[in-house]
């Protein structure tokens, strides 16, 4: 049972939501019976039952291998926009005011002309400056390390946008006229950013739209998973290859790590 679940989340194979939920509950129960409580928590969080809160035993993170990230490829960005319902910037009437949860960043060394490609989005810091500065506490870090905006208490002051070193956040500048996805509420006057597809994570998908798209396109530049689980694919990869944090000088302990920068 346990291995089955592990396999399904690793391969990101589409299984029906009901089946997945059944498996995760069953898996958690089995694990709870068989293994020590601490270990069980980890297992629960991978395919958490819907009445359980996100657990700090898990820390979601992403590995970006910029050496595999293809020039001109925009699959991750399109997938994010589709999954989360934000209009791609190319279609926006107001490109400078259009929200972008994720974008492809092209880097060039002016001396050597070496070029690097990578997606840039919320880095899901362990010590997020946006959470520090938010006056109402609307910008917050969930127990499992995902940094989110609570739109019920966001007043649109944009101080988090001033504070974020990664330009990860956008303000919704105009009325969305009911074009939102039922799973992804977002609205005028509030700030938003990458959520690590929290709706998918909570559903037990164990992956994000951008990772799925990158894998489907055959690039495999993105890996998503639990940084606290030494056996997760991402943890294993991070042990193998050298990675860096963007603006590591700020010491924010990022959830997104880059290889090849």
């Amino acid at each position: 049972m346990n291995t089955m679940k592990q396999k399904s989340s690793e391969n990101a194979q589409p299984a029906s939501a009901e089946r997945r939920r059944f498996m995760s509950v069953a898996g958690a129960t089995a694990a709870g019976l068989a293994i020590a409580p601490g270990v069980m928590l980890v297992e629960v969080a991978h395919g958490r039952p819907e009445d359980q809160p996100a657990s700090s035993a898990v820390r979601w993170g992403m590995l970006v291998d910029s050496t595999k990230c293809a020039t001109g490829c925009n699959e991750c960005v399109s997938a994010c926009s589709t999954e989360n319902g934000w209009t791609p910037v190319a279609e926006s009437k107001h490109p400078k005011q259009a929200p972008q949860w994720i974008r492809k960043l092209e880097l060039q060394d002016p001396l050597t002309h070496h070029e690097t490609n990578l997606p840039m989005m919320c880095q899901h810091c362990a010590e997020p400056p946006c959470v520090d500065v938010c006056p109402t506490g609307a910008s917050f870090k969930r127990a499992d390390g995902i940094v989110l905006v609570n739109r019920h208490t966001c007043i649109g002051c944009r101080y988090c946008m001033m504070a974020c070193p990664y330009k990860a956040r956008s303000l919704v500048h105009e009325n969305l006229h009911d074009t939102q996805k039922p799973d992804v509420p977002r609205g005028i006057g509030c700030v938003e950013s990458c959520t690590f597809c929290v709706q998918k994570v909570d559903r037990g998908d164990g992956t994000t739209a951008c990772v799925e798209a990158c894998t489907a396109a055959g690039h495999n530049a993105l890996v998503f998973g639990d940084l606290n689980d030494p056996e997760s694919e991402i943890s294993k990869k991070l042990r193998e290859i050298p990675t860096k944090e963007v603006r590591a000088d700020l010491n924010l302990n990022l959830g997104v790590r880059y290889h090849g920068i």
Partner: protein, 161 residues
């Protein structure tokens, strides 16, 4: 001078009242009663009608904080689930026209809600019903992407749902 100011105030008030009056419907029996259509899906609500009428805002508020902050996604009092059953057959929405479930009562009670500034008013899977969504490029893109890749029919069904 003071008289002039006072006169101005009176004129403005009168004009405002006249303007407000012009909008109101013919006053035969007060405001029109809300239209409460039986939910399209489901046999009965998660609690009694009596309870929901008085407490829906409390349970929704409680649930929203649990869901957003802690990630608890139980269905019983989730707004998404409300919409799932109560979206009208005509508009596919709980708040698109004045007779839709949420709007109808809330305009009668004159209680302004901002839920739908951010939340979709339609159940999941109704994307195609909305002209803006159906024609939107993200949907087209997703279809194109799924057609061109190895993603299974099951996955497509999930996206559509």
């Amino acid at each position: 001078m003071k008289r002039l100011v006072a006169l101005g105030a009176v004129i403005l008030t009168a004009a405002a009242l006249a303007w407000a009056g012009a909008d109101a419907p013919a006053r035969t029996g007060g405001a029109p009663k809300p239209v409460i259509v039986k939910a399209v899906k489901g046999e009965r609500c998660v609690e009694s009608n009596e309870f929901m009428r008085r407490n829906h805002m409390k349970v929704l508020n409680h649930q929203r904080d649990e869901t957003v902050i802690e990630g608890i996604r139980t269905k019983k009092f989730s707004l998404k689930q409300c919409i799932e059953c109560h979206a009208s057959e005509k508009t596919g929405s709980v708040a698109a026209s004045k007779d839709d479930f949420c709007v109808s009562c809330h305009s009668y009670a004159a209680v302004k809600i901002d839920c739908f500034d951010c939340h979709s008013t339609k159940p999941q899977g109704s994307m195609a019903m909305h002209p803006l969504n159906a024609e939107s490029a993200h949907y087209a893109h997703k279809l194109a992407a799924t057609a061109g890749s190895k993603i299974s029919a099951e996955e497509m069904a999930k996206v559509a749902r």
